[in-house]
């Protein structure tokens, strides 16, 4: 994928850090403990691609998404949107940004105001961002056709509709302002498998028809493989591996990704498959272990190096990034001496 090298990233995240205060000692700041939700995360999203972030629950993937959308403040690092630094913007600029970035949530029922009709919810953002009534009315008509739902659903309340219908409406709501970027935070994990496919195909259609840029957050390996162009694997708030879907799935380079993929259920009962069992639990995000985050559970752990030095995210060819001292499938002695 050397083409991507020439393209300008649409969204760039550089060294993003977000710590949550665990206990707030007003007088003894040094004693305060922090949850390291996101630690030095960098990635680029190009225009017209679906970028996936995958990780276990509590790995900070949703926090990354919310930081990009500026729903929560960033502790350090920079976020560039369409070439512009949006890390610290004024309220007015933020308002303008909001109309260009939209979000789709995990639970479609909860993401609609239960006391408002669907039409109200769809129209509201258009009204707030001062779009003319005839424009947004036409757009609603168009969108309802696009998501293949009858228009009389608009007069209903969220509780009257099914999860799949609501999630499609949530996507329609996100599209009302014709945004440049959509953050989809686990958009299918609350849905039935049969409905999941509809939503995923809708997202793929969006990419193909409108060139929509989407950041897709999920914990489901199959889902991510189906929709995403490039993915980043996140563990304990740091990117472990990043690259195109083929790179990450077919030539795994990080032991954590390898374990994740091997944990996927067999697709056929006769399939020969070795599960790599990860020992121990995901470490506490309050005291992140020294060195590599994954060191304590890694099969290829080497004392003195892995528990000492944090591996940097580095390119092992064609935009395939790995944060490991000993990436799989690569001559070990060579990479270790590279460091």
């Amino acid at each position: 994928m050397s083409k991507e090298k020439d393209r300008q990233p649409f969204i760039s995240v550089r060294d993003l850090k977000k710590y949550f205060c665990l206990d707030n000692y007003k007088l003894a700041k040094a004693k305060t403990r922090y949850i390291h939700a996101v630690d030095d995360v960098s990635f680029d999203i190009y225009k017209g691609e679906i970028f996936g972030i995958i990780g276990e629950s509590g790995s900070g993937k949703s926090t990354i998404g919310r930081c990009v959308l500026k729903l929560i403040d960033v502790d350090s690092g920079e976020i560039y949107f369409d070439g512009k630094n949006i890390t610290h913007v004024s309220r007015k600029e933020q308002q303008e940004l909001r109309s260009r970035m939209q979000m789709v949530f995990q639970n479609p029922l909860a993401s609609f105001d239960p006391k408002k009709t669907i039409r109200f919810s769809l129209e509201e953002s258009a009204k707030v961002h001062k779009i003319k009534p005839e424009v947004y009315k036409a757009r609603i008509k168009q969108l309802m056709e696009y998501i293949a739902l009858p228009e009389d659903l608009l007069t209903r309340y969220p509780k009257d509709l099914s999860g799949g219908q609501l999630q499609r409406l949530a996507i329609a709501r996100a599209l009302m302002l014709e945004p440049d970027f959509i953050l989809a935070d686990e958009p299918v994990s609350a849905l039935d498998v049969s409905v999941q496919a509809q939503i995923l195909n809708l997202m793929l259609d969006l990419k193909e028809d409108k060139g929509q840029t989407i950041l897709f957050i999920s914990h489901d390996l199959n889902v991510v493989r189906h929709v995403c162009d490039r993915i980043a694997v996140v563990y304990l708030g740091a990117v472990m591996e990043m690259g195109t879907v083929e790179q990450v799935y077919n030539s795994v380079a990080h032991p954590y990704t390898q374990a994740l993929i091997s944990a996927k259920p067999k697709e056929h009962p006769l399939e020969n498959k070795n599960h790599i069992l990860l020992e121990g639990d995901i470490p506490n995000a309050v005291d992140i272990p020294e060195g590599c985050r994954f060191a304590g559970r890694c099969r290829y752990f080497k004392e003195g190096l892995c528990d000492n030095r944090t591996p940097k995210l580095k390119d092992i060819g064609n935009g395939h990034y790995v944060a490991c001292h000993f990436p799989l499938g690569i001559d070990r002695s060579k990479t270790a001496s590279d460091m």
Binding site: L71, A110, S111, D113, K115, S125, H129, L177, L183
Partner: protein, 303 residues
């Protein structure tokens, strides 16, 4: 039509009876000037201390010959209007304040909450006395004083409600779409949390009637020649030996209205809170569809 689909019914017998009673009271007090047989202020020296149920004066007359029935329904208007004003003060100031405090938290929240803590530490009646001492006695002072003593509770309820509600996903969705805070609080969150608070407000109307009557009874609220139920009680108390009806009839009136409001607000609460909502019984269903009792079927099957 929408009511029909709901599992519970609003019009339980208690709610129906108290509701009708309250509706009649409100209707009578609204059209008091038309319904009242006499001018409530007109004196009649020929009919001083007429007993109750005497001819021409159904509830009798007081020491100045004023018709008690006319006075009662005219002062009902004052009493009920005052109660509504008190609750209005509480809603208009307490609810937005609570919403803003709960939504933003921070120093404003701390300050407001501590001030309200101090106010709610003072007994409401004492607080009214203090305010009346500062502002002079009169109906408006009384309303404001009682209104203020009700604000802390409303503020705290609204605050705790919004603190849980603001974590809802739809609030985050609103934020992500760039809606203003005012829009999120008043257009989205408020309609979602107001329903549980409505039963509190109906209950407060009842207590407001008694509180205001207490102030008037002590001569600090409504001033002569105007009257509310408290003033009537005060007059009746002074003339207890001349005509006991003058005390008992207004007292019964206050009791009936307050009890009705309490029961009615219980009904509202039960209806709004689904967990305490009564489900329709199967009896009707069985009758309508001619089904044998489920319990009977079970017994037969076992036998």
């Amino acid at each position: 039509m929408k009511k029909k689909n709901k599992a519970g019914t609003f019009f339980t017998p208690v709610v129906a009876v108290t509701g009708i009673f309250l509706a009649v009271i409100v209707f009578v007090s609204l059209f008091a000037s038309v319904i009242a047989p006499y001018d409530p202020l007109a004196t009649d020296v020929n009919a001083i201390y007429a007993p109750a149920f005497s001819e021409g004066h159904i509830f009798g007359t007081d020491g100045l010959g004023r018709d008690l029935f006319s006075r009662l329904i005219c002062s009902a208007r004052t009493s009920i209007l005052n109660a509504f004003l008190i609750v209005a003060i509480e809603v208009v100031i307490g609810v937005p304040l609570g919403l803003i405090c709960g939504y933003y938290r921070g120093p404003l929240d701390s300050i407001v909450m501590r001030v309200w803590d101090v106010i709610s530490a003072i007994p409401p009646l004492l607080l009214s006395f203090i305010l009346i001492a500062v502002m002079g006695k009169g109906m408006m002072t009384g309303i404001i004083a009682i209104g203020i003593s009700y604000i802390p509770l409303t503020t705290k309820t609204a605050r705790s409600m919004i603190m849980t509600e603001k974590k809802a996903v739809y609030v985050e969705a609103c934020k992500s779409m760039g809606f203003s805070d005012a829009r999120i609080i008043f257009v989205h969150i408020l309609p979602n949390i107001i329903t549980p608070m409505i039963s509190q407000f109906t209950l407060d109307i009842g207590t407001a009637i008694t509180s205001m009557a207490t102030l008037s009874f002590l001569g600090l609220g409504v001033q002569a020649p105007n009257a509310d139920w408290g003033t009537l009680l005060r007059d009746g108390m002074g003339n207890l030996y001349n005509s006991s009806a003058l005390l008992f009839i207004p007292a019964i009136c206050v009791i009936l209205v307050t009890v009705s409001i309490n029961l009615f607000s219980d009904g509202v609460q039960n209806y709004l809170d689904p967990s305490s909502r009564k489900l329709p019984s199967f009896k009707k269903y069985e009758k309508k569809h001619g089904i044998k009792k489920l319990s009977a079927v079970k017994a037969n099957g076992e036998a």
